[in-house]
Symmetry: D2
């Protein structure tokens, strides 16, 4: 990453000859220095994906001008595209319930400078992390979720997120199911983490089911939230080894370890604009 | 492992005070030198599991005498138990269909001395591996499976396995479903390998389903075969990382790599008497 | 783990016939319910290692009486041994310099109840984590290390550790080399974490060396501290995958992730009395 | 991969603005359909790396014409470059000594169609694998290595490799050190696999050293051979977990498993032209 920052351009469009030529000609004409570039073509869906990082000070214009100039090419190739400026921190709102391992991990990474983000607020349906969050200088909002009036609770969340100009909403072990309205309102902007097993287990107490089945691995999946529960596009996954001496408690503990590291990786990919949606799946340019 | 071999005693019984004391007193009284020992207590099922490796030449008797002398203790504690002599090679019958990666791997390990077993024969529903198997000096039997007359085919397999005095039947990517009769006849003796995903996919073409879902890991599960398809007790599992650039073909290739290594590990645990059945799951003393 | 806690007995002694028989007879005679047991014999050093977890309320005596009664057996077999009571929390003193990822991780695990320990204090040669540590209600001690007067600084650390009745001293990215006197004073009680590579790199800026060599994995090693720098017995290791697009900054970040998880695992093994020293190496009964 | 094959263009050159624009304009002008593309810029060395896969039947010319037309661009940007046609199988000569696990693995992958290569011959300093290799229909050459006359032996190897029009020479556990002349003659064409540890061990019997040090992981490194022993650019690495119960024999066995899978992956990256040399390290576009 150059000292003076990068523009990151991500593109998804119908595949055809000449896309890279056109984009790179545009960049080269203005002196754009490509720091990192990745392409992917999905042969089944005949769709093309591209991520370009360009050194900010190699270009004679700012991100708004870039956007304006690039719009013509984008339109010509029917691109879904966006461009970000690495000097502008993304704004990440975190939601958590009563398990703190992911929250602790994220705040630790943020404090140490590893996550170069702003955290405008943390939202929870429990009080327990208020003091910890506020010690970090981050506003904490309690929004209890009354099952009879879920809409109201999530309207409040939506309002807070919008007022905070949030870019991403991270469900860091937030145990309530979001309303479909909210999921649909922020496609590709809400990131969740949940446990995963081989094979998968449906229903309650999955770690107990996994224990009963004697699994040798427990895992976690980080994915975008869609209105279809836990079926959103996968960003990242990993597993950890367990054995017969691990009871449900130990499986849960191992699961937490893998949950927090998978969420941190998945979030980082998202923040660095490495993830592009491709229908029910993702392209992740690591 | 001592030069002159080991007896390996495996025990599963209701848990109570004094099991280890009784068994180890028996061994110590006869001068038994314990090379390796592992215990596990399942608190839910109140069941105790034990594996003891004893140097053959530290004991004044052979495996038959051991068996006779130990029977009294075993009966007292209601043990499911067995004892093997590492100097007697286990007899492993291999079944394969038309994918050779696991067969190749197993025969390579056997040739190099890594698998200290006898392979009395290889059975297949295809001709393709006959020459390769026979080059190794191993008899090859073609048993086609007519869907209308599956019983007959598997009766033939059963006869071959029994005539060969087989100890273990390895399904090294054998693509036919065994009859329930056969599964029930050899509990804890038939080992299978199959692909596994997070989350699991049901139905045909699982690698294509995994691709459509954009999984980031593909895995394999080695398990004992029971009459409930692919639901038998798990012996070993592992995964391998994939990404968006991997199409179904690449997923299959990665899957094969993990399949062959997981099968080899699972089979080794079984051959070294490290696996004890515990209802729908296993205890694996690695 | 039974609700009322466990005694954990760890033993290391010259190998001979009858050790397990004698110990398990002792336990059985008093009604001791074995929850978990592991044995290991080192054939080269002719040494035997054992760990037994016994349910507290199955025995008619407390840990002091156990100790007194067991002493005769221990002496007969020339055992190095010790016994702990899971109901008595271990006292863990943490040292840190200016990198907080391991400190954050440990305090998070402690707050969430995953680490069932007391943390009497945190010691650092920098001020930066004072407020964070004190927010957790843990005393923070600044002990700067003047290279000319290292002995004085570490005498202070020693005094604090002793006054705190510390059981373990964790170097959670503490960047000063301890004095040999201090290392020798607490054998098997000081735990360190440091980066590790394949192959290893000697000298300064190892991540830069690793980058120059184009390694594909970076790792971490958790080990006991001895007076020979970074050569103490290894408790745990792990690696994480990197590639050509990872510069030194990214290698450091990946290294931190693996450092914190390896330290947490190594510390847990130690706290659960799963680690027994065996000369320059360890036995770890996971 | 399109049915009718791909051209794979790999480029390494001094970094500057306009490289991608120029290359992609060239491809687009001739209708070239980009199937996969990867770029990397090394900021320290100010060098740019690129791999492009283009569908053969999207271009109006064959590989020779491509080469001729592209030469002008290549010269303008001072490129090290080459282009391959996926329809032309690469010719892989394998060398092996007396450990067969990698040879078995490679021939199994070749037989199953996973490795789409020609194997013109296998060369060994031992007779043991002759029959196995010849059963596969591959010529086998015994070239003993007399320490007094190493030059003669490796002159013979060089002659065989050249006569066979070899593209790659794979040292599949070949235990002789090649002459510097031979290493220099085939830069980036000779691939080796060897064990690796954290930390590294120098000298004889590394698995025994690793055992004495109590390592918890053993690994393998696949690298290009240079005249500096085992210091060539790394292509791929991996590790496998071991513990105190693993003696040197078990470490060797685990080491073999990771050796064969790492060699297979490293070779595949090379065969698919995914590896570009960058001084003492590599760029691997996985």
């Amino acid at each position: 990453m150059p000292d003076n920052g990068c523009f990151t351009l991500t593109v998804s469009c119908p595949d055809r000859v000449g896309i890279v030529a056109r984009v790179s000609e545009f960049l080269a004409r203005h002196g754009g220095w490509i720091v990192e570039a990745s392409h992917h073509a999905d042969p089944d869906l005949a769709r093309f994906f591209m991520r370009q990082q360009i050194a900010v000070d190699s270009l004679p214009f700012d991100v708004q001008t870039f956007r304006a100039r690039f719009a013509k090419i984008a339109s010509e190739f029917h691109m879904d595209w966006h461009i970000t400026d690495s000097r502008i921190k993304k704004r990440v709102v975190i939601m958590v319930s009563n398990l703190g391992h992911c929250l602790y991990d994220l705040l630790g990474r943020w404090r140490s400078g590893e996550l170069n983000i702003d955290i405008p607020c943390v939202i929870s349906n429990h009080e327990i992390f208020r003091s910890f969050v506020e010690w970090h200088g981050i506003p904490f909002h309690l929004i209890p979720v009354d099952p009879e009036r879920k809409d109201m609770a999530f309207q409040e969340v939506t309002d807070l997120f919008d007022e905070a100009h949030g870019d991403v909403l991270v469900l860091a072990r937030y145990m309530q199911v979001l309303t479909p309205e909210m999921c649909d309102r922020y496609p590709g902007q809400i990131i969740n983490i949940h446990h995963s097993f081989l094979p998968g287990f449906i229903g309650a107490r999955p770690y107990h089911q996994a224990y009963d089945r004697g699994v040798k691995l427990v895992g976690a999946t980080c994915h975008y939230v869609t209105s279809e529960l836990d079926q959103g596009p996968i960003i990242e996954q990993d597993v950890i080894r367990v054995d017969h001496s691990d009871g449900p408690t130990e499986l849960v503990r191992s699961g937490r370890d893998v949950e927090k590291s998978v969420l941190a990786r998945g979030l980082r990919y998202h923040l660095e604009d490495r993830v592009i949606l491709n229908g029910s799946k993702t392209v992740v340019f690591r």
